[in-house]
């Protein structure tokens, strides 16, 4: 690779990094505003217009605070855990395309950290790495509530990862019928959701795969440890859960990882089910730069729609009990996902080869 290609790669990675940090600043503020509104409160309003700089103020405060290290911690794992939380969170977004590829001269530049052939598998791998941070933080704190949080996190992540993966399988199977051969590359999955059915229904996977979409949504809420699945850090039961003993910047890194995960998982849901950056660009009727930027706008709108659902669920539903969490995961979601895979397979088979008795 020459210097230009290296430069493009570095720029794309930096772009994803900045996008995620910016999205986190907006997300934290948006969550506080939205939840406040749903609870008839005002929410942050002092820092900047509508309180939009609240996250920046909080971040600066955490940055300058002392990171207290309790005496009984296992120092190595205790210091490692926040980094293990942030790194997979950033990496997940690397394979998600957040805009239509565009041309500069002869080189096509994809708005995506890296277009992996095994993109979906990469996302599964990284989201399974994220659990180590919680487990290690819980264990190394040398305190009982973090340990309980860590054990809960392991069980929860393993249980809901299965449902999430199975929902993805149904989407991958359906995507294979939309073009030549199957694919796990996210840019290809987005490209195959282009067009419409009957002239007005967008060709998004959410319509034929609605059951998979619901299962996937429940599973990603559980994967990101958000309410009503936030048993990992249930304040009323186990103080702060795994991050009880963390303070200052180390705590801020867990916080950052959680919000980046929300954003990445929402982006993934938008990519798999809502057509990613697909949408009308009105090429020719609007200035060229507008139609170049519109796909990214569509992508962000869809992602924020899902992010809003996250906040909405949090403000609406009470937390589950631990046994309810397990029974929903293993006795409802996984069987439902398996049944849906079989149903999709049958319908795909019938559409491709006709009825078995014909």
């Amino acid at each position: 690779m020459g210097w230009v290609e290296w430069g493009v790669v570095v720029l794309r990675v930096l772009l994803v990094f900045v996008l995620l940090l910016g999205a986190t600043i907006i997300n934290v503020w948006a969550e506080r505003k939205i939840v406040a509104d749903m609870q008839s409160r005002i929410g942050p309003k002092r820092a900047g217009p509508w309180g939009i700089l609240q996250t920046v103020a909080d971040g600066l405060k955490l940055f300058f605070k002392e990171s207290v290290t309790p005496r009984k911690v296992e120092l190595g794992a205790y210091l490692l855990a926040p980094f293990l939380a942030v790194i997979p969170a950033f990496l997940i977004f690397m394979v998600i395309p957040f805009g239509a590829p565009f041309m500069i001269g002869d080189t096509e530049i994809a708005l995506q950290g890296a277009d992996l052939n095994a993109g979906l598998l990469f996302i599964l791998a990284m989201s399974s790495m994220a659990v180590y941070a919680v487990v290690l933080a819980g264990w190394s704190s040398g305190s009982k509530y973090p340990l309980i949080g860590g054990v809960r996190a392991t069980a929860q992540a393993i249980s809901y990862e299965a449902a999430m993966g199975l929902a993805m399988v149904a989407v991958v199977m359906f995507t294979a019928t939309q073009g030549p051969g199957g694919t796990l590359s996210l840019s290809e999955i987005v490209a195959r959701q282009d067009g419409t059915w009957l002239g007005f229904i967008p060709q998004w996977n959410v319509f034929p795969q609605i059951v998979a979409f619901v299962i996937f949504m429940i599973a990603i809420v559980a994967e990101t440890n958000r309410a009503p699945f936030d048993l990992v850090e249930a304040e009323q039961e186990i103080v702060g859960g795994f991050h009880t003993e963390y303070s200052g910047m180390r705590f801020a890194m867990f916080f950052l990882a959680e919000y980046i995960n929300i954003f990445s998982m929402s982006a993934l849901a938008a990519t798999l089910f809502l057509g990613g950056w697909n949408g009308p660009t009105w090429e020719g009727t609007v200035p060229a730069f507008v139609s170049a930027i519109l796909p990214t706008v569509w992508f962000l709108l869809k992602t924020y729609f899902i992010v809003f659902i996250f906040f909405w669920i949090r403000a609406t539903l009470p937390r589950l009990r631990y046994d309810q969490l397990m029974s929903i995961g293993w006795k409802r979601l996984i069987p439902a996902a398996l049944a849906w895979i079989v149903l999709s397979a049958i319908s795909i088979g019938v559409r491709q080869f006709g009825l078995p008795w014909s």
Binding site: E74, G76, A77, L80, L116, N117, A118, L121, F122, L124, A125, M126, S128, M129, V131, Y132, V135, L136, G138, W139, S140, L147, G150, V151, T154, A155, A157, I158, E161, G181, G182, L184
Partner: protein, 175 residues
């Protein structure tokens, strides 16, 4: 150039992780060492353009198996002072260590001074094919030529899982 650099770094990380597995006093750090080894081997797979194998390595071994290891270690609890220093294996350790040392020295001597190729290098025209379709390359034979073996393995694993559940329930009723 990049490939060599990555190989050297990742190989060193893998060896350091493996050493940590056996040397760490605390089993949690052993598990972490194993995690480091598994991840660096996954990076080596990526360097060889085997994205699928790397992803599976991380999902299955680092993601599922090792998480369960950690889970068990944490649940059982770790007492750092617990293991007694009394030697229960008086000479077996020395025998195993000696045999391992001889094997390693033999292998090192072979690579340094041997003048024959046990493992011929892959011809250079193999790689570009694999760049953009390792998943397809694995899936195609798996679901055509080897579909019977694939399905039989799946059935076997299902039986194993069902058997484990049945055994657990049987024990509980007896107790």
């Amino acid at each position: 150039m990049v490939e060599t650099l990555l190989f050297v770094v990742m190989a060193l990380v893998a060896i350091a992780g493996a050493a940590l597995v056996v040397l760490a006093r605390n089993p949690v750090y052993s598990a972490l060492g194993l995690l480091g080894t598994l991840l660096s081997v996954a990076v080596l797979y990526v360097v060889q353009l085997a994205h699928m194998v790397a992803a599976v390595q991380v999902i299955v071994y680092a993601g599922a198996v090792l998480t369960l290891f950690l889970f068990v270690i944490m649940l059982i609890g770790v007492d750092k002072d617990e293991p007694s220093r009394d030697e229960t294996l008086p000479f077996q350790r020395w025998i195993v260590g000696g045999v391992a040392a001889v094997i390693v020295l033999f292998a090192a001597g072979l690579t340094l001074f041997g003048d024959f190729d046990w493992v011929p290098a892959a011809s250079s025209d193999v790689l570009p094919e694999a760049t953009n379709g390792t998943i397809e390359a694995i899936a195609e034979p798996l679901f055509t030529d080897w579909v019977l073996a694939f399905e039989a393995t799946a059935l076997l694993l299902t039986i194993a899982a069902a058997g484990a559940i049945a055994l657990a329930h049987y024990r509980r009723r007896e107790g």
